[in-house]
């Protein structure tokens, strides 16, 4: 089964970020050819039909999200592209931002048309200096060519895009945190309701989508929602960008049709585990998704349902491969440190709880844990998960619960032997492809 190239429809080694290159790939043709004959509702309809689910991690159908906008509001509508790619293990949006920014811009113009937004923001995490530069260049090019601005080339509406540079905070990846950040505030999440579609940026109706989601829109409108829906599985339609990293021979960003068998992807496309080691664990959708053991992965296909069935989540499509010989407690220590570091401090359970999670995992790794600590860990996660405003609290718990559950022996060994069987270090692998 050959995977389609919808988003990565270019030679990965060339200079593809320019308008010239994009036009060669029939870029902006959807805007100039299809849109003049389509009403906004029709565009929205096609996106609904495509069944595309939000690619940022939550997997909520984009078309349905767009239809939440109030019909009777006289406030301006905003569209935001969420390019605050911060989930550890994820680096797929960066490829679009750096190498295919015009496809994103065209997608945003189409989405803006569908939801009647006149002003769009692209929020890119501050660390992505190169991506910011590329996107700004592309936006400037698009303005010069008349694809952005007052009256768009080939279409009778106007659309502006402002590129916004983030400043380093994982929680800003959450929708309302990101809006606060654009408004110049701390990137803390807002209480919901009101939901962003009703009261978002500047208290106006706002739609916020991930980079990959918006970049898929030109293809969907060009080929029709049905065509997109025919790719992938019934509930997981289309292609998905996967960023695979860790102990894998050919790490990187791949585009696959959803429903693609996981083991094929790992062994055929990505060259298998590094150093011919045995697979020890897989985190399938970014650091917040529960870890899987190799036996959980045998049968899974890469789509929302199959991975959910296996007890985890496709998330942002960031696959982390962990090879035999790595310490799972140490790995969890790194992850809990991350969530503790990124907790914004607003909700009690997360502010206090993530600190305790890290502290306890750290002491187990250092050989100073007690058997009760394992129960304490799961009891703390029970009180964090689902009890915070934003999903960071939940995210911090996914790995803790699953690591403790699936690799309990290793935790017990740490506690019983009073030390790390792996010497407190990660194994070094020399072989890379």
């Amino acid at each position: 089964m050959a995977n389609q190239n919808i988003l990565l429809n270019f030679d990965r080694n060339g200079a593809n970020h320019t308008l010239e290159n994009y036009l060669k790939r029939k870029g902006y043709s959807t805007l100039s050819e299809k849109i003049p004959n389509m009403k906004p509702e029709q565009v929205l309809d096609e996106v609904k039909k495509s069944g595309i689910r939000g690619r940022g991690g939550a997997g909520f159908p984009a078309g349905i999200k767009w239809s939440f906008l109030p019909k009777d509001s006289d406030k301006p509508v905003y569209l935001i592209c969420n390019g605050d790619e911060g989930e550890p293990g994820t680096f797929k949006d960066r490829v679009i931002l750096e190498e295919n920014p015009h496809m994103l811009i065209e997608g945003m113009i189409l989405a803006a048309y569908a939801i009647n937004a006149k002003h769009c923001y692209i929020y890119i995490r501050g660390e992505y200096g190169f991506a910011l530069q590329r996107v700004q260049q592309a936006v400037d090019e698009a303005y010069r060519a008349g694809y952005l601005g007052k009256k768009l080339t080939g279409a009778n509406y106007s659309c502006d895009i402002t590129v916004h540079k983030g400043a380093g905070a994982y929680v800003v990846g959450d929708e309302t945190g990101l809006m606060n950040s654009i408004e110049g505030k701390k990137g803390q999440t807002r209480n919901k309701p009101p939901f962003p579609a009703v009261e978002g940026l500047y208290q106006c109706p706002t739609i916020i989508n991930n980079v990959e989601t918006l970049a898929s829109v030109p293809w969907i409108i060009d080929h029709g929602g049905a065509a997109y829906h025919s790719i992938g599985t019934e509930k997981s339609s289309g292609t998905k960008l996967l960023s695979i990293s860790g102990h894998v021979r050919k790490p990187g960003v791949y585009e696959v049709d959803l429903g693609y068998p996981f083991m094929d992807f790992l062994n055929k496309d990505c060259g298998g585990v590094i150093g011919n080691r045995k697979l020890k664990a897989v985190i399938p959708g970014g650091s917040s998704t529960p870890v899987l053991r190799p036996e959980d992965c045998e049968k899974i296909t890469i789509d929302y349902e199959s991975i959910a069935e296996a007890g985890s989540s496709l998330g942002s499509g960031a696959i982390l491969i962990i090879a035999e010989g790595s310490c799972m407690v140490k790995t969890l220590e790194v992850l809990t440190h991350f969530y503790h570091h990124e907790s914004c401090g607003q909700c009690t359970p997360c502010r206090e709880g993530t600190g305790w999670l890290h502290k306890i995992v750290k002491r187990i790794e250092a050989g100073q844990g007690k058997m009760e600590d394992l129960d304490l860990l799961t009891s703390i996660t029970k009180h964090i998960a689902f009890h915070t405003i934003c999903p960071l609290g939940d995210a911090a718990c996914g790995p803790v619960d699953s690591f403790v559950k699936k690799f309990k022996d290793e935790f017990i060994e740490h506690i019983k032997t009073g030390g790390c069987p792996f010497g407190g270090k990660f194994v070094r692998f020399q072989e890379r492809v």
Binding site: G129, G184, K185, S243, G246, P251
Partner: protein, 169 residues
């Protein structure tokens, strides 16, 4: 008629925002539906000018955006990218998150601390390098990775680090 230390303005200081930065901030403030939206971009501009965000500039910024230094400071300290004290000419930020850790970030960190004779969080005596640990930089496929100023350096090992440091004059 107030006699307490002035909270409102700065008198002369060695950290004055350049005219260019002031113009840009003023323009940005006017371009957003709310002035305050220019805050984070403005802090980036200030950091570009000085390499960090010096306290006196916060007061100047507060006046441009009609807010208070205290409120700006809250935002400033929330985000990790803003430097609250001067950093070296080259600010080395090494990812310590999971993919990089799995592939030897710790070795690179240890190697750099030994080579530069500084601990994490410190700046070399000649003011050339500052070493900081950061969370995921979004370059996991090329782990381990570090960022020097705003440029990424990927697939690091000792040899590569040596080569990179050599090019930084």
């Amino acid at each position: 008629m107030s006699a307490s230390p002035s909270p409102y303005l700065t008198q002369e200081s060695e950290y004055n925002l350049s005219e260019d930065v002031v113009t840009k901030i003023t323009e940005m403030a006017a371009s957003f539906p709310e002035k305050n939206s220019a805050l984070i971009p403005a802090l980036h501009l200030i950091q570009d000018q000085f390499g960090w965000v010096p306290p006196p500039t916060i007061k100047q910024l507060a006046q441009l955006l009609k807010t208070t230094p205290n409120k700006i400071y809250g935002v400033l300290t929330f985000y990790t990218m803003f430097n609250l004290k001067p950093v070296g000419k080259y600010h080395i930020q090494i990812c310590r998150n999971v993919s990089c850790s799995l592939l030897g970030a710790k070795h690179i960190i240890d190697y750099l601390t030994k080579k530069l004779h500084i601990q994490v969080g410190e700046t070399t005596a000649d003011g050339k390098f500052t070493l900081t640990l950061v969370e995921c930089l979004g370059a996991c496929g090329m782990a381990p990775v570090m960022m020097i100023n705003d440029k990424y350096y990927e697939n690091l090992d000792e040899k590569k680090v040596d080569q990179i440091l050599k090019t930084l004059k």
